[in-house]
């Protein structure tokens, strides 16, 4: 993978934070757009690391899944 894990992680977190006023949940595609030269699977590996570190969390409606920053937005009580 040409992608540097730490740099990529930083870029993802910065992206989520920059949008935090308007958006708390993101599609997987939003992240592949950040790394147009990388394979989707490599971007997924970085997201998995962030999930395992507890930085990102999955949000699911049951049919669709999105990613969000842990603790961002209204969620734990299922208000979304």
């Amino acid at each position: 993978m040409v992608l540097d894990t730490n740099e990529a992680k930083k870029k993802i977190v910065e992206f989520c934070e920059s949008k935090s006023k308007t958006k708390t949940k993101f599609y997987f595609n939003d992240f592949t757009d950040l790394f147009p030269d990388e394979k989707a699977r490599d971007v997924k590996k970085i997201l998995t690391v962030l999930v395992n570190e507890g930085v990102l969390v999955f949000w699911s409606s049951g049919s669709t899944t999105m990613y969000g920053m842990a603790g961002a937005g209204k969620h734990a009580e299922g208000e979304d």
Binding site: K39, L47, T48, W59, S60, S61, S63, H75, G78
Partner: protein, 437 residues
Amino acid sequence: MAKHKTPLLDQLESGPWPSFVSDIKQECASRAKNAKGVDYQVPADCPDDLLGVLEMSYVDGETHWKHGGIVGVFGYGGGVIGRYCDQPEMFPGVAHFHTVRVNQPSGLYYTTEFLRQICDLWELRGSGLTNMHGSTGDIVLLGTTTPQLEEIFFDLTHKMNTDLGGSGSNLRTPSCCLGQSRCEFACIDTQQLCHDLTNTYQDELHRPAFPYKFKFKVDGCPNGCVAAIARSDFSIIGTWRDEIRIDQKAVAAYVGGEIKPNAGAHAGRDWGKFDIQKEVVDRCPTGCMKFEGGKLEINNKECVRCMHCINAMPRALRIGNDRGASILCGAKAPILDGPQMSSLLVPFIKAEEPYDEIKEIVENLWDWWMEEGKNRERLGETMKRLSFQKLLEVTNQKADARHVREPRHNPYIFWKEEEVKGGWQRDIADYRKKHQK
């Protein structure tokens, strides 16, 4: 004494069919009695509140469930679906009522011990209500609270040797027919293939990164007992490419009435004497059979493996010996674009361990769909939007007459320069030798 009055639901019990309302009431009574002394970890009366909220929805004509949220087990993006009631004070037992999907065993074979374990686990940590099985195939455990999830997951994986199923934008739990374990029509080992795909693609199952859901279904033959062609993005259907094996003696026995057609399945009514011409030969969709002088013949080149004749006379006609699978892509339910059946992509492929050829197609397909698919777009919709021709290209398949679903459906096939002999350049002098100006 019921906790909530439910006259509308009670009415549902009056029909001739088994009723889910009676089932839930049975569970209410059993939990109230608690004969086994279970230390219920979620409100013991949650099935009562479930009936209560359902009755209210019937009265109001609208749902009282909110769905979605950040519930799940650590590191998994699927398998748990958050459900919350929007009247939690009235129905505290179902304030949180999450669904857990459990990966069903291939072909749905259980030991009674396993079923007892599942039920005991769900009495203790859930509502006790299950749905066997969800439409994707999973064992569906209905109704639990967030703090129970990790405990449930631990028991499923450590004590019961199973795992959560799929949900959300990921690979859904693959499913298959019971195949060679019981069925003589099975052209491939569906259970082995399904199990292998499930294990190979664990990351895709548990960590969602697709535009939308993706389903594998494996049918052992075109009878399609798990309806792969209608209900999966990647449908694997067993088939053969040589000849249907004919036992002429058994054909004669069917004709003579010694063997019942369809293995006696329609014996409940008198349909008269079996007429091979009318019931088999004339019903062959391609007209490739003939019965003359007591001999049945099949022009196998024209046979489309519809299974009709084999189903009618299973002791006389058997699947061929050179077996494998056809792969079709893109089935989906009505959301967005309307329902769609899968389209044939690979007419014949060998389906033998380690299934590398099949997996190569799967992975090429995913690379393309993950790259090009829009959010919430099923593979079938991406195919429609970007053309079947593109699908052939990304999966390295050659166009084949069998890809044509019906003649003249879409006459616009665009050749690429490298596909045309001599490219776009031609020797005009040579052309003029045969064609005047």
